[in-house]
C-alpha cells in the first residue's frame, strides 16, 4: 500500500493520457463541461475524503470553504484588481483559517454531532453572505471581463483551458491525498477516526491533527471555489453556498468509497454525468430526478458494498489474483 506498484503507476499514466486526449475526441462544449464538473466535484470530494474518509469528520459544510474560496478571489479581483491566481492562494488560506477557527471549538464533537455542527457552519456562512453588502449580498457579484489568458485565469473562446486547469487541480489534490494517506499523518487520522481515546493513548494530539485535516481540506475545496468563479464569472450565495452542494460532495465520496484515494474521483465520474444529463434532458421538470437516482445508487451501494465502488473494484482485483 505504501509504495505504488509498477502496474498501478502505468494504469495512472494511461488514464491520464486518455484524459488529456479526451477533448480531442469530444470537441463539443457539453461533454467538456461535464468533465470539468467531474474534475471540480472530484477535487472537492478528495478534499472531503481527507477530513471525512480518513480523519472521520463527516462534514456537511464543505460548501462554506467552496464559497469562501470563490468569494475571496472574486472580491479581490473586482475591488483591488488582484490576480485570480493570487486570489486563489489567499482564498485557500482564509478558508483554512476559518476552518481552523470553527474546528477548534468543535474539537470534541464526533459523528452525528460534528455533522450537525458543520451543517450549521455552512448555513451561517450562507446567511452572512446573503446580507453582506460589501460583497454584493443576495445580488451576488459579476466578474469583470478581461482579456483571455492563462495569467488572467479567464478564457472566452473555448472551455479547453478550463478543462486542463481543473484536471491539474484534481491531480494536485490527489497527490496531496496520496502523501497524507501514506504518511504518519494518515495513520494518525485513521486512529482518530476509530476513536479519540485510542488516538490519545498512542500519543496523538487529536485536536491538532483534526485541525490539520480540516485546513488541508478547506484549502483544496477553496481552490475549486476560485475555479468555479473564474469559470462561471458570476457568484451569488444561492448558487455557491447552498447545502445541496455539501450533500452532493458527501454522496460522491461515499458512493465512490470514502477512505481510499481514488474512490471520490470514481464517485464524481458516476454521479456528475447523471445530474448533468438529467438536468439538460428534463430541464426544470427534472429537478430532483438526479437525487432519486442518487438515492437509489447510494442505497444499493451501502447495502451491498459499504466501501463504495472502489471497494467493489478492489474486491474484484483480489479475486483475479
Amino acid at each position: 500500500m505504501r509504495n505504488l506498484s509498477f502496474k498501478q503507476i502505468s494504469l495512472c499514466i494511461i488514464v491520464l493520457i486518455l484524459l488529456i486526449l479526451f477533448p480531442v475526441a469530444f470537441s463539443k462544449p457539453f461533454p467538456q463541461h461535464v468533465m470539468i464538473l467531474i474534475f471540480m466535484f472530484g477535487t472537492m470530494a478528495v478534499a472531503w475524503n481527507i477530513m471525512g474518509g480518513y480523519a472521520g469528520m463527516f462534514s456537511f459544510g464543505q460548501v462554506a470553504f467552496f464559497g469562501i474560496g470563490a468569494y475571496t478571489s472574486s472580491f479581490l479581483l473586482i475591488t483591488y484588481h488582484v490576480n485570480p491566481w493570487l486570489g486563489l492562494i489567499v482564498g485557500g488560506l482564509i478558508s483554512a483559517l476559518v476552518g481552523a477557527a470553527i474546528g477548534y471549538p468543535c474539537s470534541n464533537l464526533r459523528g452525528h454531532y460534528f455533522a450537525i455542527a458543520s451543517i450549521a457552519f455552512g448555513e451561517i456562512v450562507r446567511t452572512h453572505f446573503n446580507n453582506w453588502k460589501l460583497i454584493g449580498a443576495a445580488e451576488g457579484m459579476t466578474l469583470p471581463m478581461m482579456n483571455e489568458s492563462f495569467g488572467n485565469f479567464m478564457f472566452h473562446s473555448s472551455k479547453l483551458p478550463y478543462y486542463y486547469i481543473m484536471l491539474a487541480f484534481l491531480i494536485i489534490s490527489l497527490i496531496v491525498c496520496y502523501f497524507v494517506s501514506t504518511s504518519k499523518m494518515g495513520y494518525y487520522f485513521r486512529a482518530i477516526k476509530e476513536s479519540h481515546d485510542v488516538a490519545k493513548v498512542l500519543g496523538v494530539n487529536v485536536v491538532w491533527y483534526r485541525l490539520i485535516a480540516i485546513m488541508i481540506s478547506a484549502f483544496l475545496t477553496a481552490m475549486a471555489g476560485t475555479f468555479y468563479a473564474q469559470y462561471v464569472l458570476y457568484l451569488d450565495p444561492e448558487s455557491v453556498l447552498i447545502l445541496p452542494i455539501s450533500v452532493q460532495i458527501v454522496l460522491i465520496s461515499m458512493l465512490g468509497g470514502a477512505g481510499s484515494i481514488m474512490g471520490p474521483v470514481i464517485g464524481a465520474a458516476i454521479l456528475m454525468p447523471v445530474s448533468e444529463v438529467t438536468r439538460v434532458m428534463l430541464g426544470h421538470k427534472g429537478t430532483g430526478i438526479d437525487m432519486i437516482i442518487y438515492g437509489t445508487l447510494i442505497t444499493l451501494i451501502s447495502v451491498y458494498q459499504p466501501k463504495g465502488v472502489w471497494g467493489l473494484f478492489s474486491n474484484i482485483g483480489k479475486r483475479m489474483k
Partner: protein
C-alpha cells in the same frame, strides 16, 4: 542521591457530582515495580487510571511521573513522556492490520514509516503476534486483541505501562500466556501498574498491591498480606455475621 519514584499519586480526589470516585488516594510506584490495583466494582480503579493518564483531571491532589508533575497535562502529552495504557474495553483500530495498528503507536517516536514499521515488527515478535501481522485487527480472538493492545502500548516505548483488566475473560491457557507476557515486560525494565480482578494473576505478578473500595484506599502491601487482611475480605465479601 535519592532515586526518584516512577509514579507518585498524592491525595488525588475526583468527584462526579456528589460521588467521590476517588477520595484522597495516595501511593507511590518505584521504578521497575509491578503494582496491582484491586477492588470491587465501582471502587474507582478505572477513574484513577484515567486521572493518571490525563483522560480526567483530578479535582484536587497531585500526580507526578519521574519527578515531574503531570496533573493537568493532556493525555497525548503524558503518553509522549512515557506513560502508556490499555483500556478495560479493548481499543484497537479496526480497519487496520495488526502491523499497522502497532506501527501507529511506534510513529510517536519515529516520523517516517519505515523505521516505525521495523519497531512494530520487533514489538510483535516480542508479544508473539508476528505471524498474524497481516490480519485485520478485527479478525483476532479476544485474547489476541488484548495482546495487540499491549503491543500498541509497548510500541510507544513507555517507561510506565498501565494495564486495565488485560486478563478479564481469558481462558486458563490464555491467562497464563498473558501473565508470562506481563512478567516479561517487567523484566525489560518497564514499570507496570495493573488493574486486575483475576486474583490468581495478581498473586503471581505483583510486587505490591493497592486495594481500593468506594473510592478510598483501604490497604497497601504485598499480595500475601493483602489476601488475609480483614478489611479487604470485608470489602469483597461483606461483613461476617
Amino acid at each position: 542521591m535519592k532515586k526518584s519514584s516512577c509514579l507518585e499519586v498524592n491525595g488525588v480526589t475526583k468527584r462526579f457530582g456528589g460521588l467521590f470516585a476517588n477520595d484522597n488516594i495516595s501511593f507511590v510506584v518505584e521504578e521497575g515495580e509491578i503494582v496491582s490495583i484491586i477492588g470491587p466494582n465501582g471502587a474507582g480503579k478505572s477513574t484513577l487510571f484515567n486521572c493518571v493518564t490525563g483522560f480526567y483531571h483530578p479535582d484536587s491532589g497531585k500526580i507526578s511521573f519521574m519527578g515531574q508533575e503531570i496533573t493537568h497535562y493532556r493525555a497525548h502529552r503524558i503518553c509522549k513522556m512515557g506513560v502508556a495504557r490499555t483500556f478495560q474495553i479493548v481499543q484497537i483500530i479496526s480497519d487496520m492490520s495488526v502491523l499497522e495498528n502497532v506501527m501507529t503507536g511506534a510513529l510517536l517516536r519515529y516520523n517516517r514509516i519505515a523505521p516505525a514499521m521495523e519497531k512494530a515488527e520487533e514489538v510483535l515478535t516480542f508479544t508473539g503476534l508476528i505471524e498474524k501481522k497481516e490480519l485485520l485487527a478485527t479478525e483476532l480472538t479476544i485474547a489476541d486483541k488484548k495482546r495487540l493492545e499491549v503491543s500498541m502500548a509497548l510500541a510507544t516505548r513507555p517507561k510506565l505501562l498501565m494495564l486495565d483488566e488485560s486478563m478479564a475473560g481469558l481462558t486458563r491457557v490464555e491467562l497464563q500466556g498473558m501473565i508470562d507476557l506481563i512478567k516479561e515486560i517487567g523484566r525489560k525494565g518497564i514499570t507496570l501498574v495493573v488493574v486486575e480482578h483475576v486474583m490468581e494473576a495478581v498473586m503471581q505478578i505483583s510486587d505490591r498491591v493497592v486495594v481500593l473500595n468506594s473510592g478510598k484506599k483501604i490497604m497497601e502491601g504485598s499480595p500475601q498480606e493483602v489476601v488475609v487482611n480483614e478489611e479487604v475480605i470485608q470489602a469483597y465479601l461483606g461483613e461476617k455475621r
